[in-house]
Amino acid sequence: MREEQFIRAIKRRKRKDQWYFVFLLFMGFLSLFPLFSVLYYVVSKGWFDLFSAGFLKPTVGTLEMVLIAMVFAIPLGTGLGLYLYESRGTRMVTVVRYTADLLSGIPSILIGMAVYAVVVISTGTFSLFAGSVALATFSIPYLGREIEDQLIASTSAIKEGALALGATNTRALLQMVMPVMTRPLIVAILFSMSRAMGETAPLLFTTLGNHFWPIGLMSPASTLSLQIYFDALSPNSFVQSQAWTGALILIAFIILLFLVAKWITREESK
């Protein structure tokens, strides 16, 4: 019977479709499983030591270093973003954009080596400042590209309006476009801060780590990421367990930055 064969064929294809769906669900589960496992271990192993004083120094070190990195990265990254937006279409901008993508994407340990060779050797000491320079090196291109994207996405009508009313290009950009850009700019800054905060590799050869309070910006300092790394490598199981506390604090800061970013964009969409 042809009809029966036909129905059987359809049923088989439907069953195959359902199995495929189950397979995809399993893939989705596999994607999220590491997240839940990591969060579970970080919270359950990290919380009991949370309020001991042991992590005050690295926490202060991380915040100081990221903020100093941002002092470099925000103006330079914004300038770069404006350049990329303003000079669209030229050959030079293609080269600059490619370099920016490369610099923000190359293995971060190489940035650590370069900053070691330039800053650490010339100042003669490992330092919190050198770490900031390393973090800024990949934050500048990252911010620049983000800002360029935001400018392209949101502002050409505003700028054209200002130009049509007779404003110079400079005025249109600085007085009309940039105020609208405030929120996207802050969000981009928050994301680059959260990335800079978690980086370890570029700090190994620049900031080195320090068990004591650093003396000013030009001395070795401890950060959360470095502390986690060194604690994890320690043979002492008590020290190892402290690494989880460091991870908890670090992730808490990153989540905080994300929540602030989400809150800012929520306000915007209303």
Binding site: Y20, L24, L30, Y98, I228
Partner: protein
């Protein structure tokens, strides 16, 4: 007169912006020149034997980078295979099968996956994944698939397989995000056409959606592969840090980035330091190659729009 001034201020502004671009190019050039000048001694001393040398023993002045190249590529390849299957599968699930509500939640969770720092993945890998591999995962693989040389060897826990798994997890967010955007870009007409012709969802994905976005997905995979090659911290914690070349994935190995993390500050002679710079140079070249190839592929399919 007034017109002139307008013009001048714009020119000044454009000039100022140009300085920022020059600064960035300068940063890139410093990067390259540090790597080349740092490794010059090693390049002149070893030539290409540096890349093919199998023994790395600074105490005996023997510098061969092959074990690191091997460990880097093998561990990244394991990560690549796992994360491509899981990541593209997840992207298909989210774009073709998902309900809006679940997709939104999943998106937030995947952002969180991308935001976890590599050192935390390394920590989790060392104290959760590695013990599991040692006690459960690797013995199971050995009894089931021991006939294949990859899964036949002494069991350590740390090693190429552990590094590959961690890299796979770290590559997932990029692959999922880029694949999702590419799958969303498949014209709805084509998809509706497939459904109208009686295709099931599975058949639609296999015959229409995937062929349309294949090249872009390859770009996404290359991009995340290029990043995995340079991951230092997480890999250092789980790969075992032993410069050997072994067929078994259970054996400890070492990678370009992790040997830098471990030995750069300990280099006691000029030649030792210089050969580490050369490893950095090799890593830089490899990363640039993969980055460029993936950008070209993604650009080709997305018409230069920036997907990542």
């Amino acid at each position: 007169m007034n017109n002139m001034r307008k013009h001048d201020s714009d020119r000044l502004f454009a000039g100022t912006l140009f300085l920022f671009a020059v600064l960035l190019i300068l940063l890139g050039l410093i990067m390259v020149s540090v790597m080349i000048s740092g490794s010059w001694k090693s390049i002149t001393a070893f030539d290409f034997s540096f890349l093919s040398g199998q023994i790395w023993n600074p105490l005996r002045h023997s510098y061969g980078a092959l074990p690191f190249l091997y460990g880097t590529f093998v561990s990244s390849l394991i990560g690549l295979i796992l994360s491509t299957v899981v990541g593209v599968g997840t992207a298909i699930l989210l774009t073709q099968f998902g309900h809006i509500k679940y997709v939104k939640i999943a998106t937030i969770l995947l952002d969180a996956l991308a935001a976890i720092p590599s050192v935390v993945y390394g920590l989790w890998g060392l104290f959760v994944l590695v013990p599991w591999l040692r006690n459960t995962g690797e013995p199971l693989l050995k009894t089931e698939l021991g006939a294949i040389p990859f899964f036949n060897g002494q069991i350590w826990g740390v090693g190429l397989l552990a590094a590959g798994l961690i890299l796979g997890i770290m590559m997932l967010p990029t692959i999922i995000t880029v694949s999702r955007k590419l799958l969303d870009n498949v014209p709805q007409d084509l998809q509706d056409g497939a459904i109208a012709l009686g295709a099931t969802r599975t058949e639609k994905v296999r015959m229409v959606v995937l062929p349309y976005s294949r090249v872009g997905i390859l770009g996404a995979v290359l991009l995340s592969f290029g990043r995995a090659l340079g991951e230092a911290i997480a890999v250092t914690l789980v790969i075992g840090n032993s410069p050997t070349i072994s067929t078994s994935l259970f054996e400890p190995g070492d990678s370009l980035a992790s040997v830098l993390a471990n030995q750069f500050l300990e280099a006691s002679t000029h030649l030792y330091l210089s050969s580490l710079y050369e490893i950095g140079l090799v890593l830089l070249i490899v990363a640039v190659l993969f980055h460029t190839a993936s950008k070209l592929l993604i650009w080709r399919v997305s018409g230069r729009a920036r997907i990542l």
